[in-house]
């Protein structure tokens, strides 16, 4: 970028680090690329997310906005410096240990920024208040935690304690620190952008500036030659240039062919040496665009130009569940409520943009990138690049947040293509704008529900219709269209039910999987109608829901006999706070003033795993000749905690302490397939496989030693000791022959949740296991300004069996943060919100007090009774907040997010 390259004398973590660099280069870039200090993360490159926070002369600043030359002569401190002892050794500081103890790091991508901002605070105030911590961390965005665990860790950093270390058999239920937590707090965690060999080529994409346009390339060779780069297009793709998470629907080209169907779609990649690529200007890339009239309205898409020739009516798919006769049920109702709702595109906004590295291992293409679904990535990359699946190796990097969007491939085929074509390691990091433009979003929905209740308040019929904007390509659109009709009743007894959905193609962003697969949208309209019915009946809103809550053994709208039903227990758990809050609200509002308070309630249920489709997990465990216990845990941990929860389940099944286990993570060459991290399935499905693997290995050991079921297994160097009341037996491991996997004792077990196909009316057994929850939201609405402040959320969740309460709390608080964002502020508009200052996600100051309540109604099919949690947690948040807004103000907000202009309009329409 700059013509002269002078020496900049930086001082980093107390050491002189002179570096030859352009003075205007970003400090974050120099730290990472030139000094190898990749603990400093780049989430947005615009000062919006704070992940790159470093201390310059003690003050936290964004390294991504700091020209390197301006830091010359200053003391720069990065996360790597936090683990330095005065003697020059390495040891975690008290703050880092507090982060582990409190579960403050989930995915870990924001953790370095949080730690640095907190370090500056703790230098000024040794024991800060929560308000002080919140203010100090307000400039660092976290998408996983909801900030509560982080605030707690910062306030508790002075109290250095040791976390629990459960003994054999006591792991499940223990608030164990994350087993993979250490690298997240010491800056060594290697996310997609953090690992590359010297000399790796850099890949950048050329993207469409229009939502719909035909294009032709100019002379690419003429352009590339003098610039010392290479350009690859769809013409260079050897395989079938279409990928998709659901193979029958696969329709998305890795590089567009002649027509781009969404803004930001990649049409070519440019590959070159890092120093060339750093200053390469893509503005004059030779392409001629012919913009087309874009299809933008999903409800008008049926008669519009076909986005994809293969689907001329722009219908991707339809979903349907029918039980009984909804019309008859509604006709016989004493009260019928009709609700409509419209939701927006919601961006996942994980703080780690897509990033990865591809290289060749002989004739194998290896890709290390952030992902939620390594085996699906392998299959998509193989298809696109024309390779056998066995010739593609996917090694997930640490994942800096996923929430559904990293289930689809993004850059994997692009860097794979570059590596195949150049023979060199190739790396790529999406910019924040590229990430937001080109990857999937939550489906915008336009929904209508009519729900009827009899005079006693019992639901007697429901009719639901929803149109989902699925964007230009299929992605997970079919899953959303199918999952919504199954769940749109909510966890309520609903005879006479019809729910129909359609997913429409447009030239909007691709809508895919996002925590809840459409269910959070559907809950908005269902719960709004429930409030209407309660009002019409003169019933308390919570009591009305309790009356209609599904009970043990009752049938769902799919006709499934439900077991382990915890919704009643969740609603009951909210009752004490509900009653107290109602009284507090009445007293507050009676005092007058422009601020009104209100409370609201909403429920969730959610089936864990694929909808009536196989989704097995396989877990392998082995003991080596030298006595090491190895667990191949293939469930990708994107921050949710499978690297901890799965070993906890396995450890108890085998009967050893968690500390004895060495983990081998997902790698399609080393670890059996545990499927994708989605659909809240890993604890249930991989957990069941781990449970069975633990049991099987234990059975082998007991059989070999002829010990009873209650025997204690102890690992020792080169041997196993197995003791029961009859005495201690020993297995000399060195005497055993190692199998093909290198283990002298090994078990490998699979689990596929038992489901039954759905018929044409959606009747069947879509899921083996469901989880339940309910939220109570307390809000204040400014009647003059239309602003909403959420003060408190009480969140009751039925986990069946709590495997790890610390991680469960993190899931609940983080899910609530995303639900709050969806309710109040998040609205992605292509071309207008393609960064994290125009697209807003909640900050520390937006989060309410959260009171979690963990309920355990065991599921007969869950591992040790456990149910999934990850997606459930955000489903009730938005409807509960909307219910509370209405209670406070009369405003019925039907278009999310509830921004001030919409709240004001709804207040006006309510006649307040």
């Amino acid at each position: 970028m700059n013509r002269a390259v002078p020496m900049i004398r930086l001082t980093v973590n107390g050491a002189a680090r002179p570096v030859a660099a352009d003075p205007a280069r970003r400090l974050s870039d120099v730290l990472r690329e030139d000094l190898g200090l990749t603990g400093t993360k780049v989430g947005c490159d615009a000062g919006d997310c704070g992940a790159c926070t470093v201390l310059i002369d003690g003050a936290p600043v964004c390294a991504c906005l700091t020209p390197a030359a301006q830091a010359e002569g200053c003391e720069i401190r990065t996360v790597e410096g936090l683990s330095q002892t005065a003697e020059g050794g390495a040891a975690l500081g008290a703050l880092q240990r507090a982060f582990l103890r409190h579960g403050a790091a989930q995915c870990g991508i924001c953790t370095p920024g949080m730690l640095m901002a907190a370090t500056a605070l703790l230098k000024e105030v040794a024991t800060p208040t929560e308000d002080q911590a919140r203010a100090a961390l307000g400039g660092v965005l976290c998408r996983c935690t909801g900030y509560g665990r982080i605030i707690a860790a910062v306030c508790d950093a002075g109290r250095d304690m040791v976390g629990p270390a459960p003994s054999a058999g006591a792991a499940v239920g223990a608030a164990l620190e994350r087993l993979d937590g250490l690298p997240k707090v010491d800056g060594t965690e290697a996310f997609g952008a953090d690992l590359w060999p010297a000399g790796a080529l850099v890949v950048r994409a050329v993207r469409a500036p229009h939502p719909a346009a035909r294009f032709v390339f100019g002379d690419l060779i003429d352009w590339a030659g003098p610039r010392q780069v290479r350009v690859f297009t769809a013409a260079d793709i050897a395989g079938e240039n279409r990928f998709g998470v659901i193979p029958p629907f696969a329709d998305q080209p890795a590089l567009a062919e002649g027509e781009a169907r969404l803004r930001g779609e990649a049409i070519a990649i440019v590959v070159g040496e890092a120093e060339v690529m750093a200053t390469l200007d893509l503005d004059d890339f030779p392409v001629i665009w012919e913009p087309l009239d874009p299809v933008t309205d999903p409800e008008a898409a049926a008669g519009a130009r076909a986005v994809l020739a293969a689907r001329p009516d722009n219908v991707l798919t339809r979903g349907r569940v029918v039980q009984g006769d909804a019309a008859v049920g509604l006709a016989g109702a004493a009260h019928v409520a009709e609700a409509t709702a419209r939701t927006s595109f919601v961006e996942h906004a994980y703080i780690e943009p897509e990033a990865g590295l591809a290289w060749l291992e002989g004739d194998v293409l290896a890709i290390r990138a952030c992902t939620q679904a390594p085996v699906m990535d392998r299959d998509d990359v193989a298809r696109v690049l024309g390779l056998a699946p066995g010739k593609v190796r996917i090694i997930p990097s640490a994942v800096g947040g996923g929430f559904g969007s990293k289930l689809d491939v993004s850059l994997q085929p692009l860097i794979g293509l570059a590596a195949l074509k150049t023979g060199r390691p190739c790396r790529m990091v999406y910019s924040r704008t590229e990430s937001m433009q080109s990857t999937t979003k939550r489906h915008p929905a336009r929904m209508r529900a009519r729900i009827g209740a009899d005079a006693s308040g019992r639901i007697c019929g429901m009719d639901f219709e929803g149109t989902f904007d699925t964007g230009a390509y299929a992605s997970w659109g079919p899953t959303v269209a199918n999952r919504v009709p199954v769940h749109a009743s909510g966890p309520y007894r609903t005879p006479n039910y019809r729910a129909e959905t359609v997913a429409m193609h447009t030239n909007n962003p691709v809508a895919g999987a996002f925590r809840g697969f459409g269910v959070p949208q559907a809950a908005v309209v269902q719960e709004a109608a429930y409030d209407d019915l309660a009002q019409a009946l003169g019933m308390d809103r919570l009591a009305f829901r309790r009356l209609n809550a599904l009970a043990e053994g009752e049938r769902s709208v799919c006709g499934q006999e439900m077991r382990g039903v915890g919704i009643g227990a969740c609603l009951d758990a909210l009752t004490p706070r509900w009653e107290a809050a109602l009284a507090e609200v009445a007293e507050f509002n009676a005092a007058g003033g422009t601020v009104k308070r209100g409370i609201g309630v909403a429920s969730c249920w959610y089936g864990c795993g694929n909808t009536a489709l196989p989704n097995p997990s396989t877990v392998r465990a082995g003991i080596t000749r030298d006595g090491r216990l190895v667990l191949h845990q293939g469930a990708t941990d994107i921050g949710q905690g499978s690297n901890t929860v799965i070993p906890q389940i396995f450890a108890d099944a085998l009967g050893v302490a968690v500390a004895e286990i060495a983990l081998v993570g997902p790698d399609t060459f080393l670890t059996p397939d545990c499927g994708k991290t989605s659909a809240s399935r890993q604890t249930v499905v991989t957990g069941n496989a781990a449970l069975r693997a633990g049991w099987a290995l234990r059975a082998q050991i007991l059989a070999r030693t002829n010990r009873g079921d209650d025997a204690r297994i102890t690992l020792a160097p080169g041997k196993l000791l197995v003791a029961d009341r009859t005495g201690t037996a020993e297995i000399a491991l060195a005497d055993l022959a190692a199998g093909a996997q290198g283990y002298v004792l090994m078990a490998e077990e699979s689990y596929d949740p038992p489901t039954e196909p759905l018929d044409e009316n959606g009747q069947g057994v879509p899921y083996a296991v469901y989880g339940y929850g309910a939220h109570l939201a307390e809000v204040a609405v400014d009647m003059m300004l239309g602003t909403v402040k959420v003060g408190r959320i009480t969140a009751a969740h039925d986990l069946g069996r709590v495997v790890n309460p610390l991680l469960a709390l993190g899931q609940i608080e983080g899910g609530i943060a995303q639900g709050l964002g969806m309710a109040l502020m998040e609205e992605y508009v292509p071309g207008r919100t393609e960064n994290l200052h125009d697209y807003l996600i909640p900050t520390t100051g937006d989060m309410p007090r959260i009171d979690p309540i963990l309920i355990e109604v065991p599921d007969p099919k869950g591992p040790l009774g456990a149910k999934g949690l990850g997606e459930h947690v955000l489903i009730p948040t938005a409807p509960a907040i909307l219910s509370a807004i209405r209670h406070a103000s009369g405003a019925r907000v039907t278009h999310l997010p509830a921004l001030p202009h919409r709240v004001l309009r709804a207040i006006r329409e309510a006649g307040r």
């Binding site: 970028m1 700059n2 013509r3 352009d22 003075p23 205007a24 970003r26 490159d45 615009a46 000062g47 310059i56 003050a59 936290p60 600043v61 964004c62 991504c64 906005l65 700091t66 020209p67 030359a69 929560e130 203010a135 307000g138 400039g139 660092v140 200053t279 200007d281 503005d283 704008t433 003033g593 422009t594 601020v595 307390e778 204040a780 400014d782 003059m784 300004l785 239309g786 602003t787 402040k789 003060g791 408190r792 502020m825 071309g831 207008r832 919100t833 393609e834 960064n835 200052h837 807003l840 900050t843 100051g845 937006d846 309410p848 007090r849 921004l899 001030p900 202009h901 004001l904 309009r905």
Partner: protein
């Protein structure tokens, strides 16, 4: 990113000489320019880094009680100084309501004046924008969008100015000291930014090579210290630009408003001082009716484009609310969430 020269002059004269060249841009804290260079909205040929210029990184109290703030003073340093915050509390509150701690630690007060609009079409080089590229059109016109200007907009541009600090400065009657090839001059803050008219690409009255060197607050501005607030409505609680904001200041003598100041943010391409509203308040009793009437008067000339009509009454309400809060008295301590409208609610219930 396009390549550019990088210079770091040690004297003001050298800086002005370097900054006068076509295509040159001054760089201070970098919180805005560095980002615009990344998106391609700013493509300078030459960066003149002024952070080494001597003497601009401090403030001094003037003999008459006024305050002269060097252009390179960091936002956080100024806002956290006890004397400054007590004398000009609405200014400190405005500063602390802006951006994040990290950005305030880097951003300078001079740079704050020079912030570009946050209109998304300005930042996106693939969109037409008369402000970024004269005569290219305005992609924002006709769109249903809520953030655009309701005062002083033109056919050519409906963008708003993003600063909080400048709103308080406008109300305080600040003067901007400018140095350039032709010497130094002082410009009233309210004259510093230009309304778009037919030439939105020219956003300030600075001439080529001119540089903001200081901001001066007159001694009289200290007279509002007991009744001064900044109120900012935004889509999230912190770290967001204003949808609408207002700085309100009163001098109350014997229960009567002796002097009032009111300025708005988020409504125009410049901080919008409401002189008519101020005049209407002079001599009035500080009550809700007077504040509502005055604030409504400030918005009398407002005009909506598609989707932002709600901002007109909302701005009036924010103005009235800010005046009400100011009348109640400057808080003894800076609020936990500076500028927040959620005053009736604790940060954490």
């Amino acid at each position: 990113m396009k390549s550019f020269d990088y210079l770091r002059p040690e004297t003001l004269a050298d800086a002005i000489a370097a900054g006068g060249a076509p295509g040159a841009a001054y760089l201070a804290g970098g919180t805005n320019l560095v980002d615009l260079m990344k998106t391609g909205a700013a493509v300078p040929d030459r960066i003149v880094d002024i952070t080494r210029l001597p003497g601009l990184d401090r403030w001094e109290w003037l003999d008459d009680g006024g305050l002269r703030i060097g252009a390179l003073v960091r936002n956080s340093d100024l806002a956290h100084d006890v004397d400054v915050a007590q004398t000009f509390p609405a200014m400190a509150e405005a500063l602390l309501s802006g951006a994040s701690g990290q950005l305030r630690n880097a951003a300078t007060v001079g740079g704050n004046l020079m912030q570009a609009t946050r209109c998304p079409f300005f930042a996106d080089p693939t969109s037409s924008c008369n402000r970024r590229e004269a005569g290219s059109g305005c992609a924002a016109q006709g769109l249903s969008a809520r953030a655009f200007a309701v005062l002083g907009a033109s056919e050519a541009c409906i963008a708003t100015h993003p600063s909080d600090f400048c709103v308080a400065l406008a109300a305080l009657g600040a003067m901007v000291e400018v140095a350039g090839p032709d010497g130094t001059r002082a410009v009233a803050l309210t004259d510093f930014h230009r309304l778009p008219g037919a030439a939105p690409q020219t956003t300030t009255v600075l001439k080529p090579g001119e540089l903001v060197t200081a901001i001066t607050l007159p001694a009289a501005a200290a007279g509002f210290r007991r009744h001064a607030r900044y109120l900012k409505l935004r889509d999230r609680t912190s770290f967001a630009f204003a949808l609408v904001s207002a700085a309100a200041m009163l001098r109350i003598e014997d229960g009567i408003i002796a002097e009032a100041r009111l300025a708005f943010g988020g409504v125009a391409a410049k901080p919008w001082r409401a002189l008519d509203a101020e005049a209407a308040l002079k001599g009035a009793r500080p009550d809700a009716d007077a504040f509502a009437t005055a604030a409504a008067r400030a918005l009398e000339g407002a005009a909506a484009t598609a989707g932002n009509g709600f901002k007109i009454p909302l701005a009036a309400r924010i103005g009235a609310r800010a005046l009400t809060l100011a009348a109640a008295g400057t808080p003894a301590e800076m609020p936990v969430l500076p500028g927040s409208v959620h005053l009736g609610e604790p940060a954490h219930a």
